[in-house]
């Protein structure tokens, strides 16, 4: 019964949110006076994905999920790491440069590449952490600034030390021995599910264990739930801020690694920017819950992948999907707030029933 209720409450919000998003999107499309019309839009979006689309969804959603976890680690203690974007940018470049240099034999090269990605991402996030703990600089502002700085600094180094060719600059290509291709469920033409997508699974499980099973996770959540109470309980907020930022940045560093080792093998043209911001949206959509964010990531990946057909078959721009996503996020946070309130009302009644004072029957 109790479990049932919490399940109900858990699903209520997302369902409402998605419904609202669907309506909003349809309205926008109608308002834009498209010739193809809402019908064709949804029939394309909701069509059964082709095999290669499925593969893309898996790959994309795992990268998005990593990003979402990175964001959520901060959010869980009310630390708004808007800087995941910059963190995985810097980390991806650093890792790609190192792996491309091929200083070490294949496997070691891979492992160290990942380690470097984590370390650099953490370091970049650490700057914001230090600024907050020692100088009281709001992490919202500092991470936004660091995003901009990351872009400029990376392109500076890429331009200086990268491999120039055909109008393009890339890092040196990773040696074949350091590629991590993946598993091809359908034909090779439909692409492979990158092995390093497993990082997402590992990180997800790790995040869940951290939150629900460890003291560190408890302190993290406590700080988020009530900083003052956490401090009184012996949590050092400075330390937690740093730890959370480092963890967050470390995970951020991994975001693009599946794609890098799986298919790109260079940092450059094919680098996929923007995952950091998608991660924020997905974290909110999944309410910073390990499982919730899985659905969020899948939903976002699904929408983007499906929307690719729009411009081929309709006159509707695929940017409409951004509206769907944005509205979904806003709607879901609102819905969660409402659910939270009704839930605590229900609970107070339960308390009153249990601690039956005289005024009970009057209440009824």
């Amino acid at each position: 019964m109790n479990a049932l209720r919490s399940l109900f409450f858990g699903l209520l919000a997302p369902v409402i949110a998605v419904a609202i998003a669907v309506v909003a999107t349809s309205v926008v499309i109608i308002a834009s006076g498209s010739d193809s019309g809402v019908g064709s839009f949804w029939s394309i979006m909701l069509a059964v994905p082709q095999d290669r689309i499925l593969v893309n969804i898996v790959n994309q959603s795992s990268m998005i999920y990593l990003s979402a976890v990175a964001v959520a680690i901060g959010f869980r203690m009310n630390l708004f790491n808007i800087g995941v974007e910059g963190q995985y940018l810097v980390a991806s470049y650093a890792a790609a440069t190192f792996v491309g240099a091929a200083l070490l034999p294949g496997f070691v090269n891979i492992v160290l590449g990942l380690v470097i990605a984590i370390a650099v991402g953490a370091a970049w996030a650490g700057i914001a952490g230090l600024l907050k703990t020692y100088r009281g600089v709001s992490e919202v502002i500092s991470t936004i600034m660091l995003n901009a700085i990351a872009g400029i600094v990376v392109s500076y180094f890429l331009d200086k030390y990268g491999v120039h060719g055909g109008n393009q600059v890339n890092t040196a290509t990773a040696p074949e021995s350091s590629w991590v291709p993946g598993w091809t469920p359908f034909t090779s033409a439909d692409g492979a599910i990158w092995s390093l997508d497993l990082l997402a699974v590992l990180v997800g499980v790790g995040f869940w264990v951290l939150l629900s099973r460890t003291r560190l996770g408890f302190d993290l959540r406590a700080t988020g739930a009530s900083t003052t109470a956490a401090v009184a309980s012996g949590v050092s907020v400075e330390r937690m801020t740093l730890v959370a930022m480092l963890l967050s940045g470390g995970v951020a560093g991994l975001i693009w690694m599946p794609a890098y080792f799986g298919s790109a093998h260079v940092y450059g043209t094919t680098f996929q920017a923007g995952l950091g911001f998608t991660g924020i949206a997905v974290a909110l959509l999944g309410r910073n819950q390990p499982l919730g964010m899985v659905f969020g990531a899948l939903l976002f990946a699904f929408l983007s992948a499906q929307s690719n057909s729009l411009t081929l078959q309709t006159d509707i721009s695929s940017s409409v999907v951004q509206i769907t996503q944005g509205v979904a996020v806003l709607a879901v946070v609102v819905a969660y707030e409402l659910v939270r309130r009704s839930r605590s009302r229900v609970e107070q009644r339960a308390v009153a029933r249990a601690t039956a004072p005289v005024n009970q029957e009057v209440a009824a």
Binding site: Y156, A189, T269, N308, T311, S317
Partner: protein
């Protein structure tokens, strides 16, 4: 990339009538994968479309279009190309170098389909025998407008505004500077870039205007831009700088798409004939002798050039053409990097 090129003498009209919806001839089916911005961007997407629609009409074919999104995944580009191939397209054009990798990945799976990438290149060592890479000698067209600028300036000072400080744009700067100095080594060339790396430099008219205004204030009276959509800001700067102040457009004949207030200030434009390239490619496929590997479009095959709309260059065009022929004959080699 938000890099903005055009030819599209008919840019504004091409946005409206839509051949890929109407045409259904049984000639070749062409896939046209646009870069971000898509058809109607008054830029190289439109230019490509112009070439394609010419071909479609001429060979009684049909076409299918797809458009890229900002920050889309590599897989999205691949999927777009595959969808076109699956739809039966026999000639697929990827507009913009961003398609280089995706075409390289897709082409081997469709040996019977011919691909082309504008500004493209083969990212790996394995050559693809069903892919053509158009490379445009932007440095040559820039050289010619550089000459035009040098012949026009009264102050012996001219300017250049780049959108983003990357290799592609550096080639424009190099050619331009060379052209200017070919006429008169003493002319000073002010160089400014809106952004170092951030592609927003191609969509920041305010930045373009500030940078250009800076050069006009310093004493330049001709400013050439290779800054995509930021270019409109450069034109505005010329307008504000007043009479006798010139701006030079890029990629397409921007005189044709500029506003009436801007037109009197647009000396010329460095042309990049994506439409020619696209048309030639489809033609070659249709004739069963498809272009493959690198196809350079330069002055020799009218792949690049400069525009004369507005007639501001009428009395110097002969001199410019001389330089052009020298380049064709190889007497002049234009640098590709500053």
């Amino acid at each position: 990339s938000k890099k903005s090129d055009t030819s599209a003498t008919d840019a504004s009209s091409s946005a409206s009538d839509d051949i890929c919806k109407t045409a259904d001839g049984d000639g070749p089916m062409i896939g046209l994968a646009y870069d971000v911005g898509g058809r109607g961007d008054q830029s190289f997407n439109d230019s490509a479309y112009a070439g394609v629609s010419k071909a479609v009409e001429e060979f009684d074919g049909s076409c299918v279009e797809g458009e890229a999104e900002d920050g889309e995944a590599e897989s999205a580009r691949e999927d777009r190309l595959r969808q076109m191939a699956d739809a039966g397209a026999t000639a697929i054009i990827g507009v913009g170098f961003a398609y280089s990798d995706s075409v390289n990945a897709v082409a081997p799976d469709y040996p019977d389909v011919n691909f082309a990438v504008v500004d493209g290149y083969d990212p790996d060592s394995k050559a693809n025998d069903n892919v053509a890479y158009f490379s445009f000698a932007a440095n040559e067209s820039s050289y010619l407008v550089g000459v035009a600028a040098a012949l026009t300036t009264q102050t012996d000072e001219v300017g250049f505004v780049g959108g983003v400080h990357n290799d592609l744009i550096k080639a424009f700067e190099a050619g331009y500077t060379a052209g200017v100095h070919a006429v008169n080594p003493d002319i000073q060339v002010d160089v400014a870039y809106i952004e170092e790396s951030d592609l927003s430099g191609f969509s920041d008219p305010a930045g373009g205007k500030t940078a250009a205004a800076g050069e006009f204030d310093k004493g330049a009276d001709v400013v050439y831009h290779a800054a995509g959509a930021s270019g409109s800001g450069v034109f505005d700067a010329a307008v504000e700088a007043g009479d006798g102040m010139w701006a030079i457009g890029v990629d397409s004949d921007q005189y044709l798409t500029a506003t009436s207030t801007q037109q009197p200030h647009i000396l010329t434009s460095a042309l990049k004939r994506v439409d020619v390239a696209s048309y030639d490619f489809i033609k070659s496929v249709n004739e069963g002798t498809p272009d493959t590997s690198y196809v350079t479009y330069d002055l020799t095959n009218d792949g690049v050039g400069y525009s004369t709309s507005g007639g501001f260059l009428d009395d110097v065009s002969d001199q410019i053409d001389e330089y052009a022929s020298k380049i064709k004959s190889g007497d002049i080699t234009v640098p590709t990097a500053p």
